[in-house]
Amino acid sequence: MADRPSGEAADNADGTPARATYQAELEQLRLQVELMGVRVDQNLERMRSVLHHGDVGEAGLAIEADDEIDAMQVSLTERCYDLLAREQPVASDLRLIVSVVRITAELERIGDLALRVAKLAPDQGLLTRSREVFDLLAALADLALEHYRLALRAFAGQSTELAEEVSAGSPEVSLLTDRLVGEVHRLQGEDAVSVAMKAMTAGQALSRIDDHATILGARLRYLFTGDPDHLAAEVR
């Protein structure tokens, strides 16, 4: 005789799942975070383009898009507060909502860092003055963007495996950052100080973007598994 636990059945008389509106709101929240992540991704791509071409117009687009990213963060945070107050979520729902607050803050920060690089557009000529320095910055931008996209894929696919990979960080970024510092020290000539300052501004921003992607990985591991150890990893 097969027994059916009632917990596996839809509960409402019309066959719809219980708290359907609330569940739909949570799903919307997930999608909105994904959308915000895509907007940040677009700005990261603009940042990389500005780094290579110094297009001031593209930098302007990035600045405008960042305002939208900021507005999304405020809106999603308010929505999370509303859900917390109204629905008293627990377990995976609670983890999702508190994680969205954290994730959107990280996304907003990554957006700001992308903008910091994009705003160097008028000085892009300085960044290309040294071939070695520019190659390192370009490589850092590629790695940071790749790392960020992995975090975005982990969120979209709810993948613990990908989140684990993201949270492991990128040792290569640390190596490149160290090499960048070395190259900056070797700069010579009239513009050396200006080049060094712009290069370090860009380099540090790219390195921090990578760090924030790592934090996203730890947060996603917590979100998917509920293991509080990943919260500790997040603040390391």
Binding site: G7, Q88, V90
Partner: protein, 308 residues
């Protein structure tokens, strides 16, 4: 073995209270491992050890195969949808189900290692040691004083001690300051929240070891509910509390451990036009675990409101 004064001691396997007074004489109980996950041993702290407990009302099996340990000086919450057997299990803990003629219990409920349903156990004494507070406040149509004094009088407490017992009980229930000047007034004139605290005072007046609460706040407003919840925290150092609640936030707020029950529906019975529903314990763990990261998907679905 444990130095806990309420554990089974001596060759006659008596249950002793903290003064060493023998209460129930029963055969040697068996001790076995339990399913609760915790660092400390259950033997030391178990007040109740439910072993493969099933409860029937006539041919109808209301709850099946419950295994759990209720621990001393903890608040244990039973949650789950209507009809899942929470109250049935709760009522087994002080043999209230004995009062239902068709009720029958299979498996064991060990109270400090002693089988509560052993014929040698005195059910009246069990109910004295294991008090109960019901869903709807049920004060007697007597004075506030007499409501509290009722149990101790029956228990033979000296008249000279009665004033102290009444005051102590009302203080424990956080009601003394509100009623000390009108102890002779009818209990029926108290508010719902005050009546429920009076019932708690009445339950603790006979100095039980355990207080069972069956949805004690379901008829109360949020302020009165909050006072009862505060009260539970204040008295848990002295009593072991088991509470049935439909309010999951309440379970999360007040309890140390939570047991989640569901109803399983027999498809065979459904096919015959019947509707055989049986309660089942799905998960029992610390309240923190149940409400943050439950092991069973059915628990997650219930506490997040996806069914229920």
């Amino acid at each position: 073995m444990s130095s806990d004064p309420t554990t089974v001691t001596g060759t006659e396997s008596n249950v002793s209270d903290e003064d060493g007074e023998s209460l129930i004489r029963v055969p040697e109980p068996e001790v076995r491992a339990t399913t609760v996950t915790d660092e400390s041993t259950d033997e030391q702290h178990a007040v109740f050890d439910l072993q493969n407990l099933s409860v029937y009302y006539g041919p109808f099996r209301a709850v099946r195969n419950v295994d759990m340990v209720v621990r001393r000086h903890e608040i244990t919450a039973f949650i789950g949808p209507s009809g899942c057997g929470k109250t049935t299990v709760l009522r087994c803990l002080n043999r209230m189900n004995d009062l239902v003629p068709s009720a029958r219990v299979e498996g064991k409920i060990l109270h400090h290692g002693v089988d509560l349903y052993d014929p040698a156990v005195d059910a009246v004494e069990v109910r004295r040691r294991i008090g109960m507070v019901f869903q709807k406040p049920n004060p007697f149509p007597k004075s506030i004083y007499d409501n509290i004094a009722f149990g101790p009088r029956i228990g033979g407490a000296p008249k000279s001690d009665m004033d102290d017992i009444v005051e102590k009980s009302l203080r424990q229930a956080a009601l003394w300051d509100e009623v000390k000047d009108r102890l002779d007034a009818s209990a029926m004139g108290l508010s719902g929240g005050q009546q429920q605290r009076l019932c708690i005072a009445r339950a603790v007046a006979v100095e039980p070891e355990v207080v069972l609460m069956d949805e004690p706040c379901s008829a109360l407003d949020p302020i009165a509910t909050s006072r009862i919840e505060d009260l539970m925290q204040e008295i848990k150092d002295q009593y072991t509390i088991v509470i049935v609640t439909h309010n999951m936030q309440q379970a999360a707020r007040v309890s140390d451990r939570t047991a989640f029950f569901i109803t399983e529906v027999s498809e065979a019975a459904q096919g015959q036009g019947g509707d055989q529903r049986t309660g089942l314990l799905v998960e029992y763990d610390t309240t923190e675990t149940i409400f943050s990261n439950p092991a069973d998907e059915r628990t997650e679905n219930y506490i997040t409101g996806r069914f229920g």
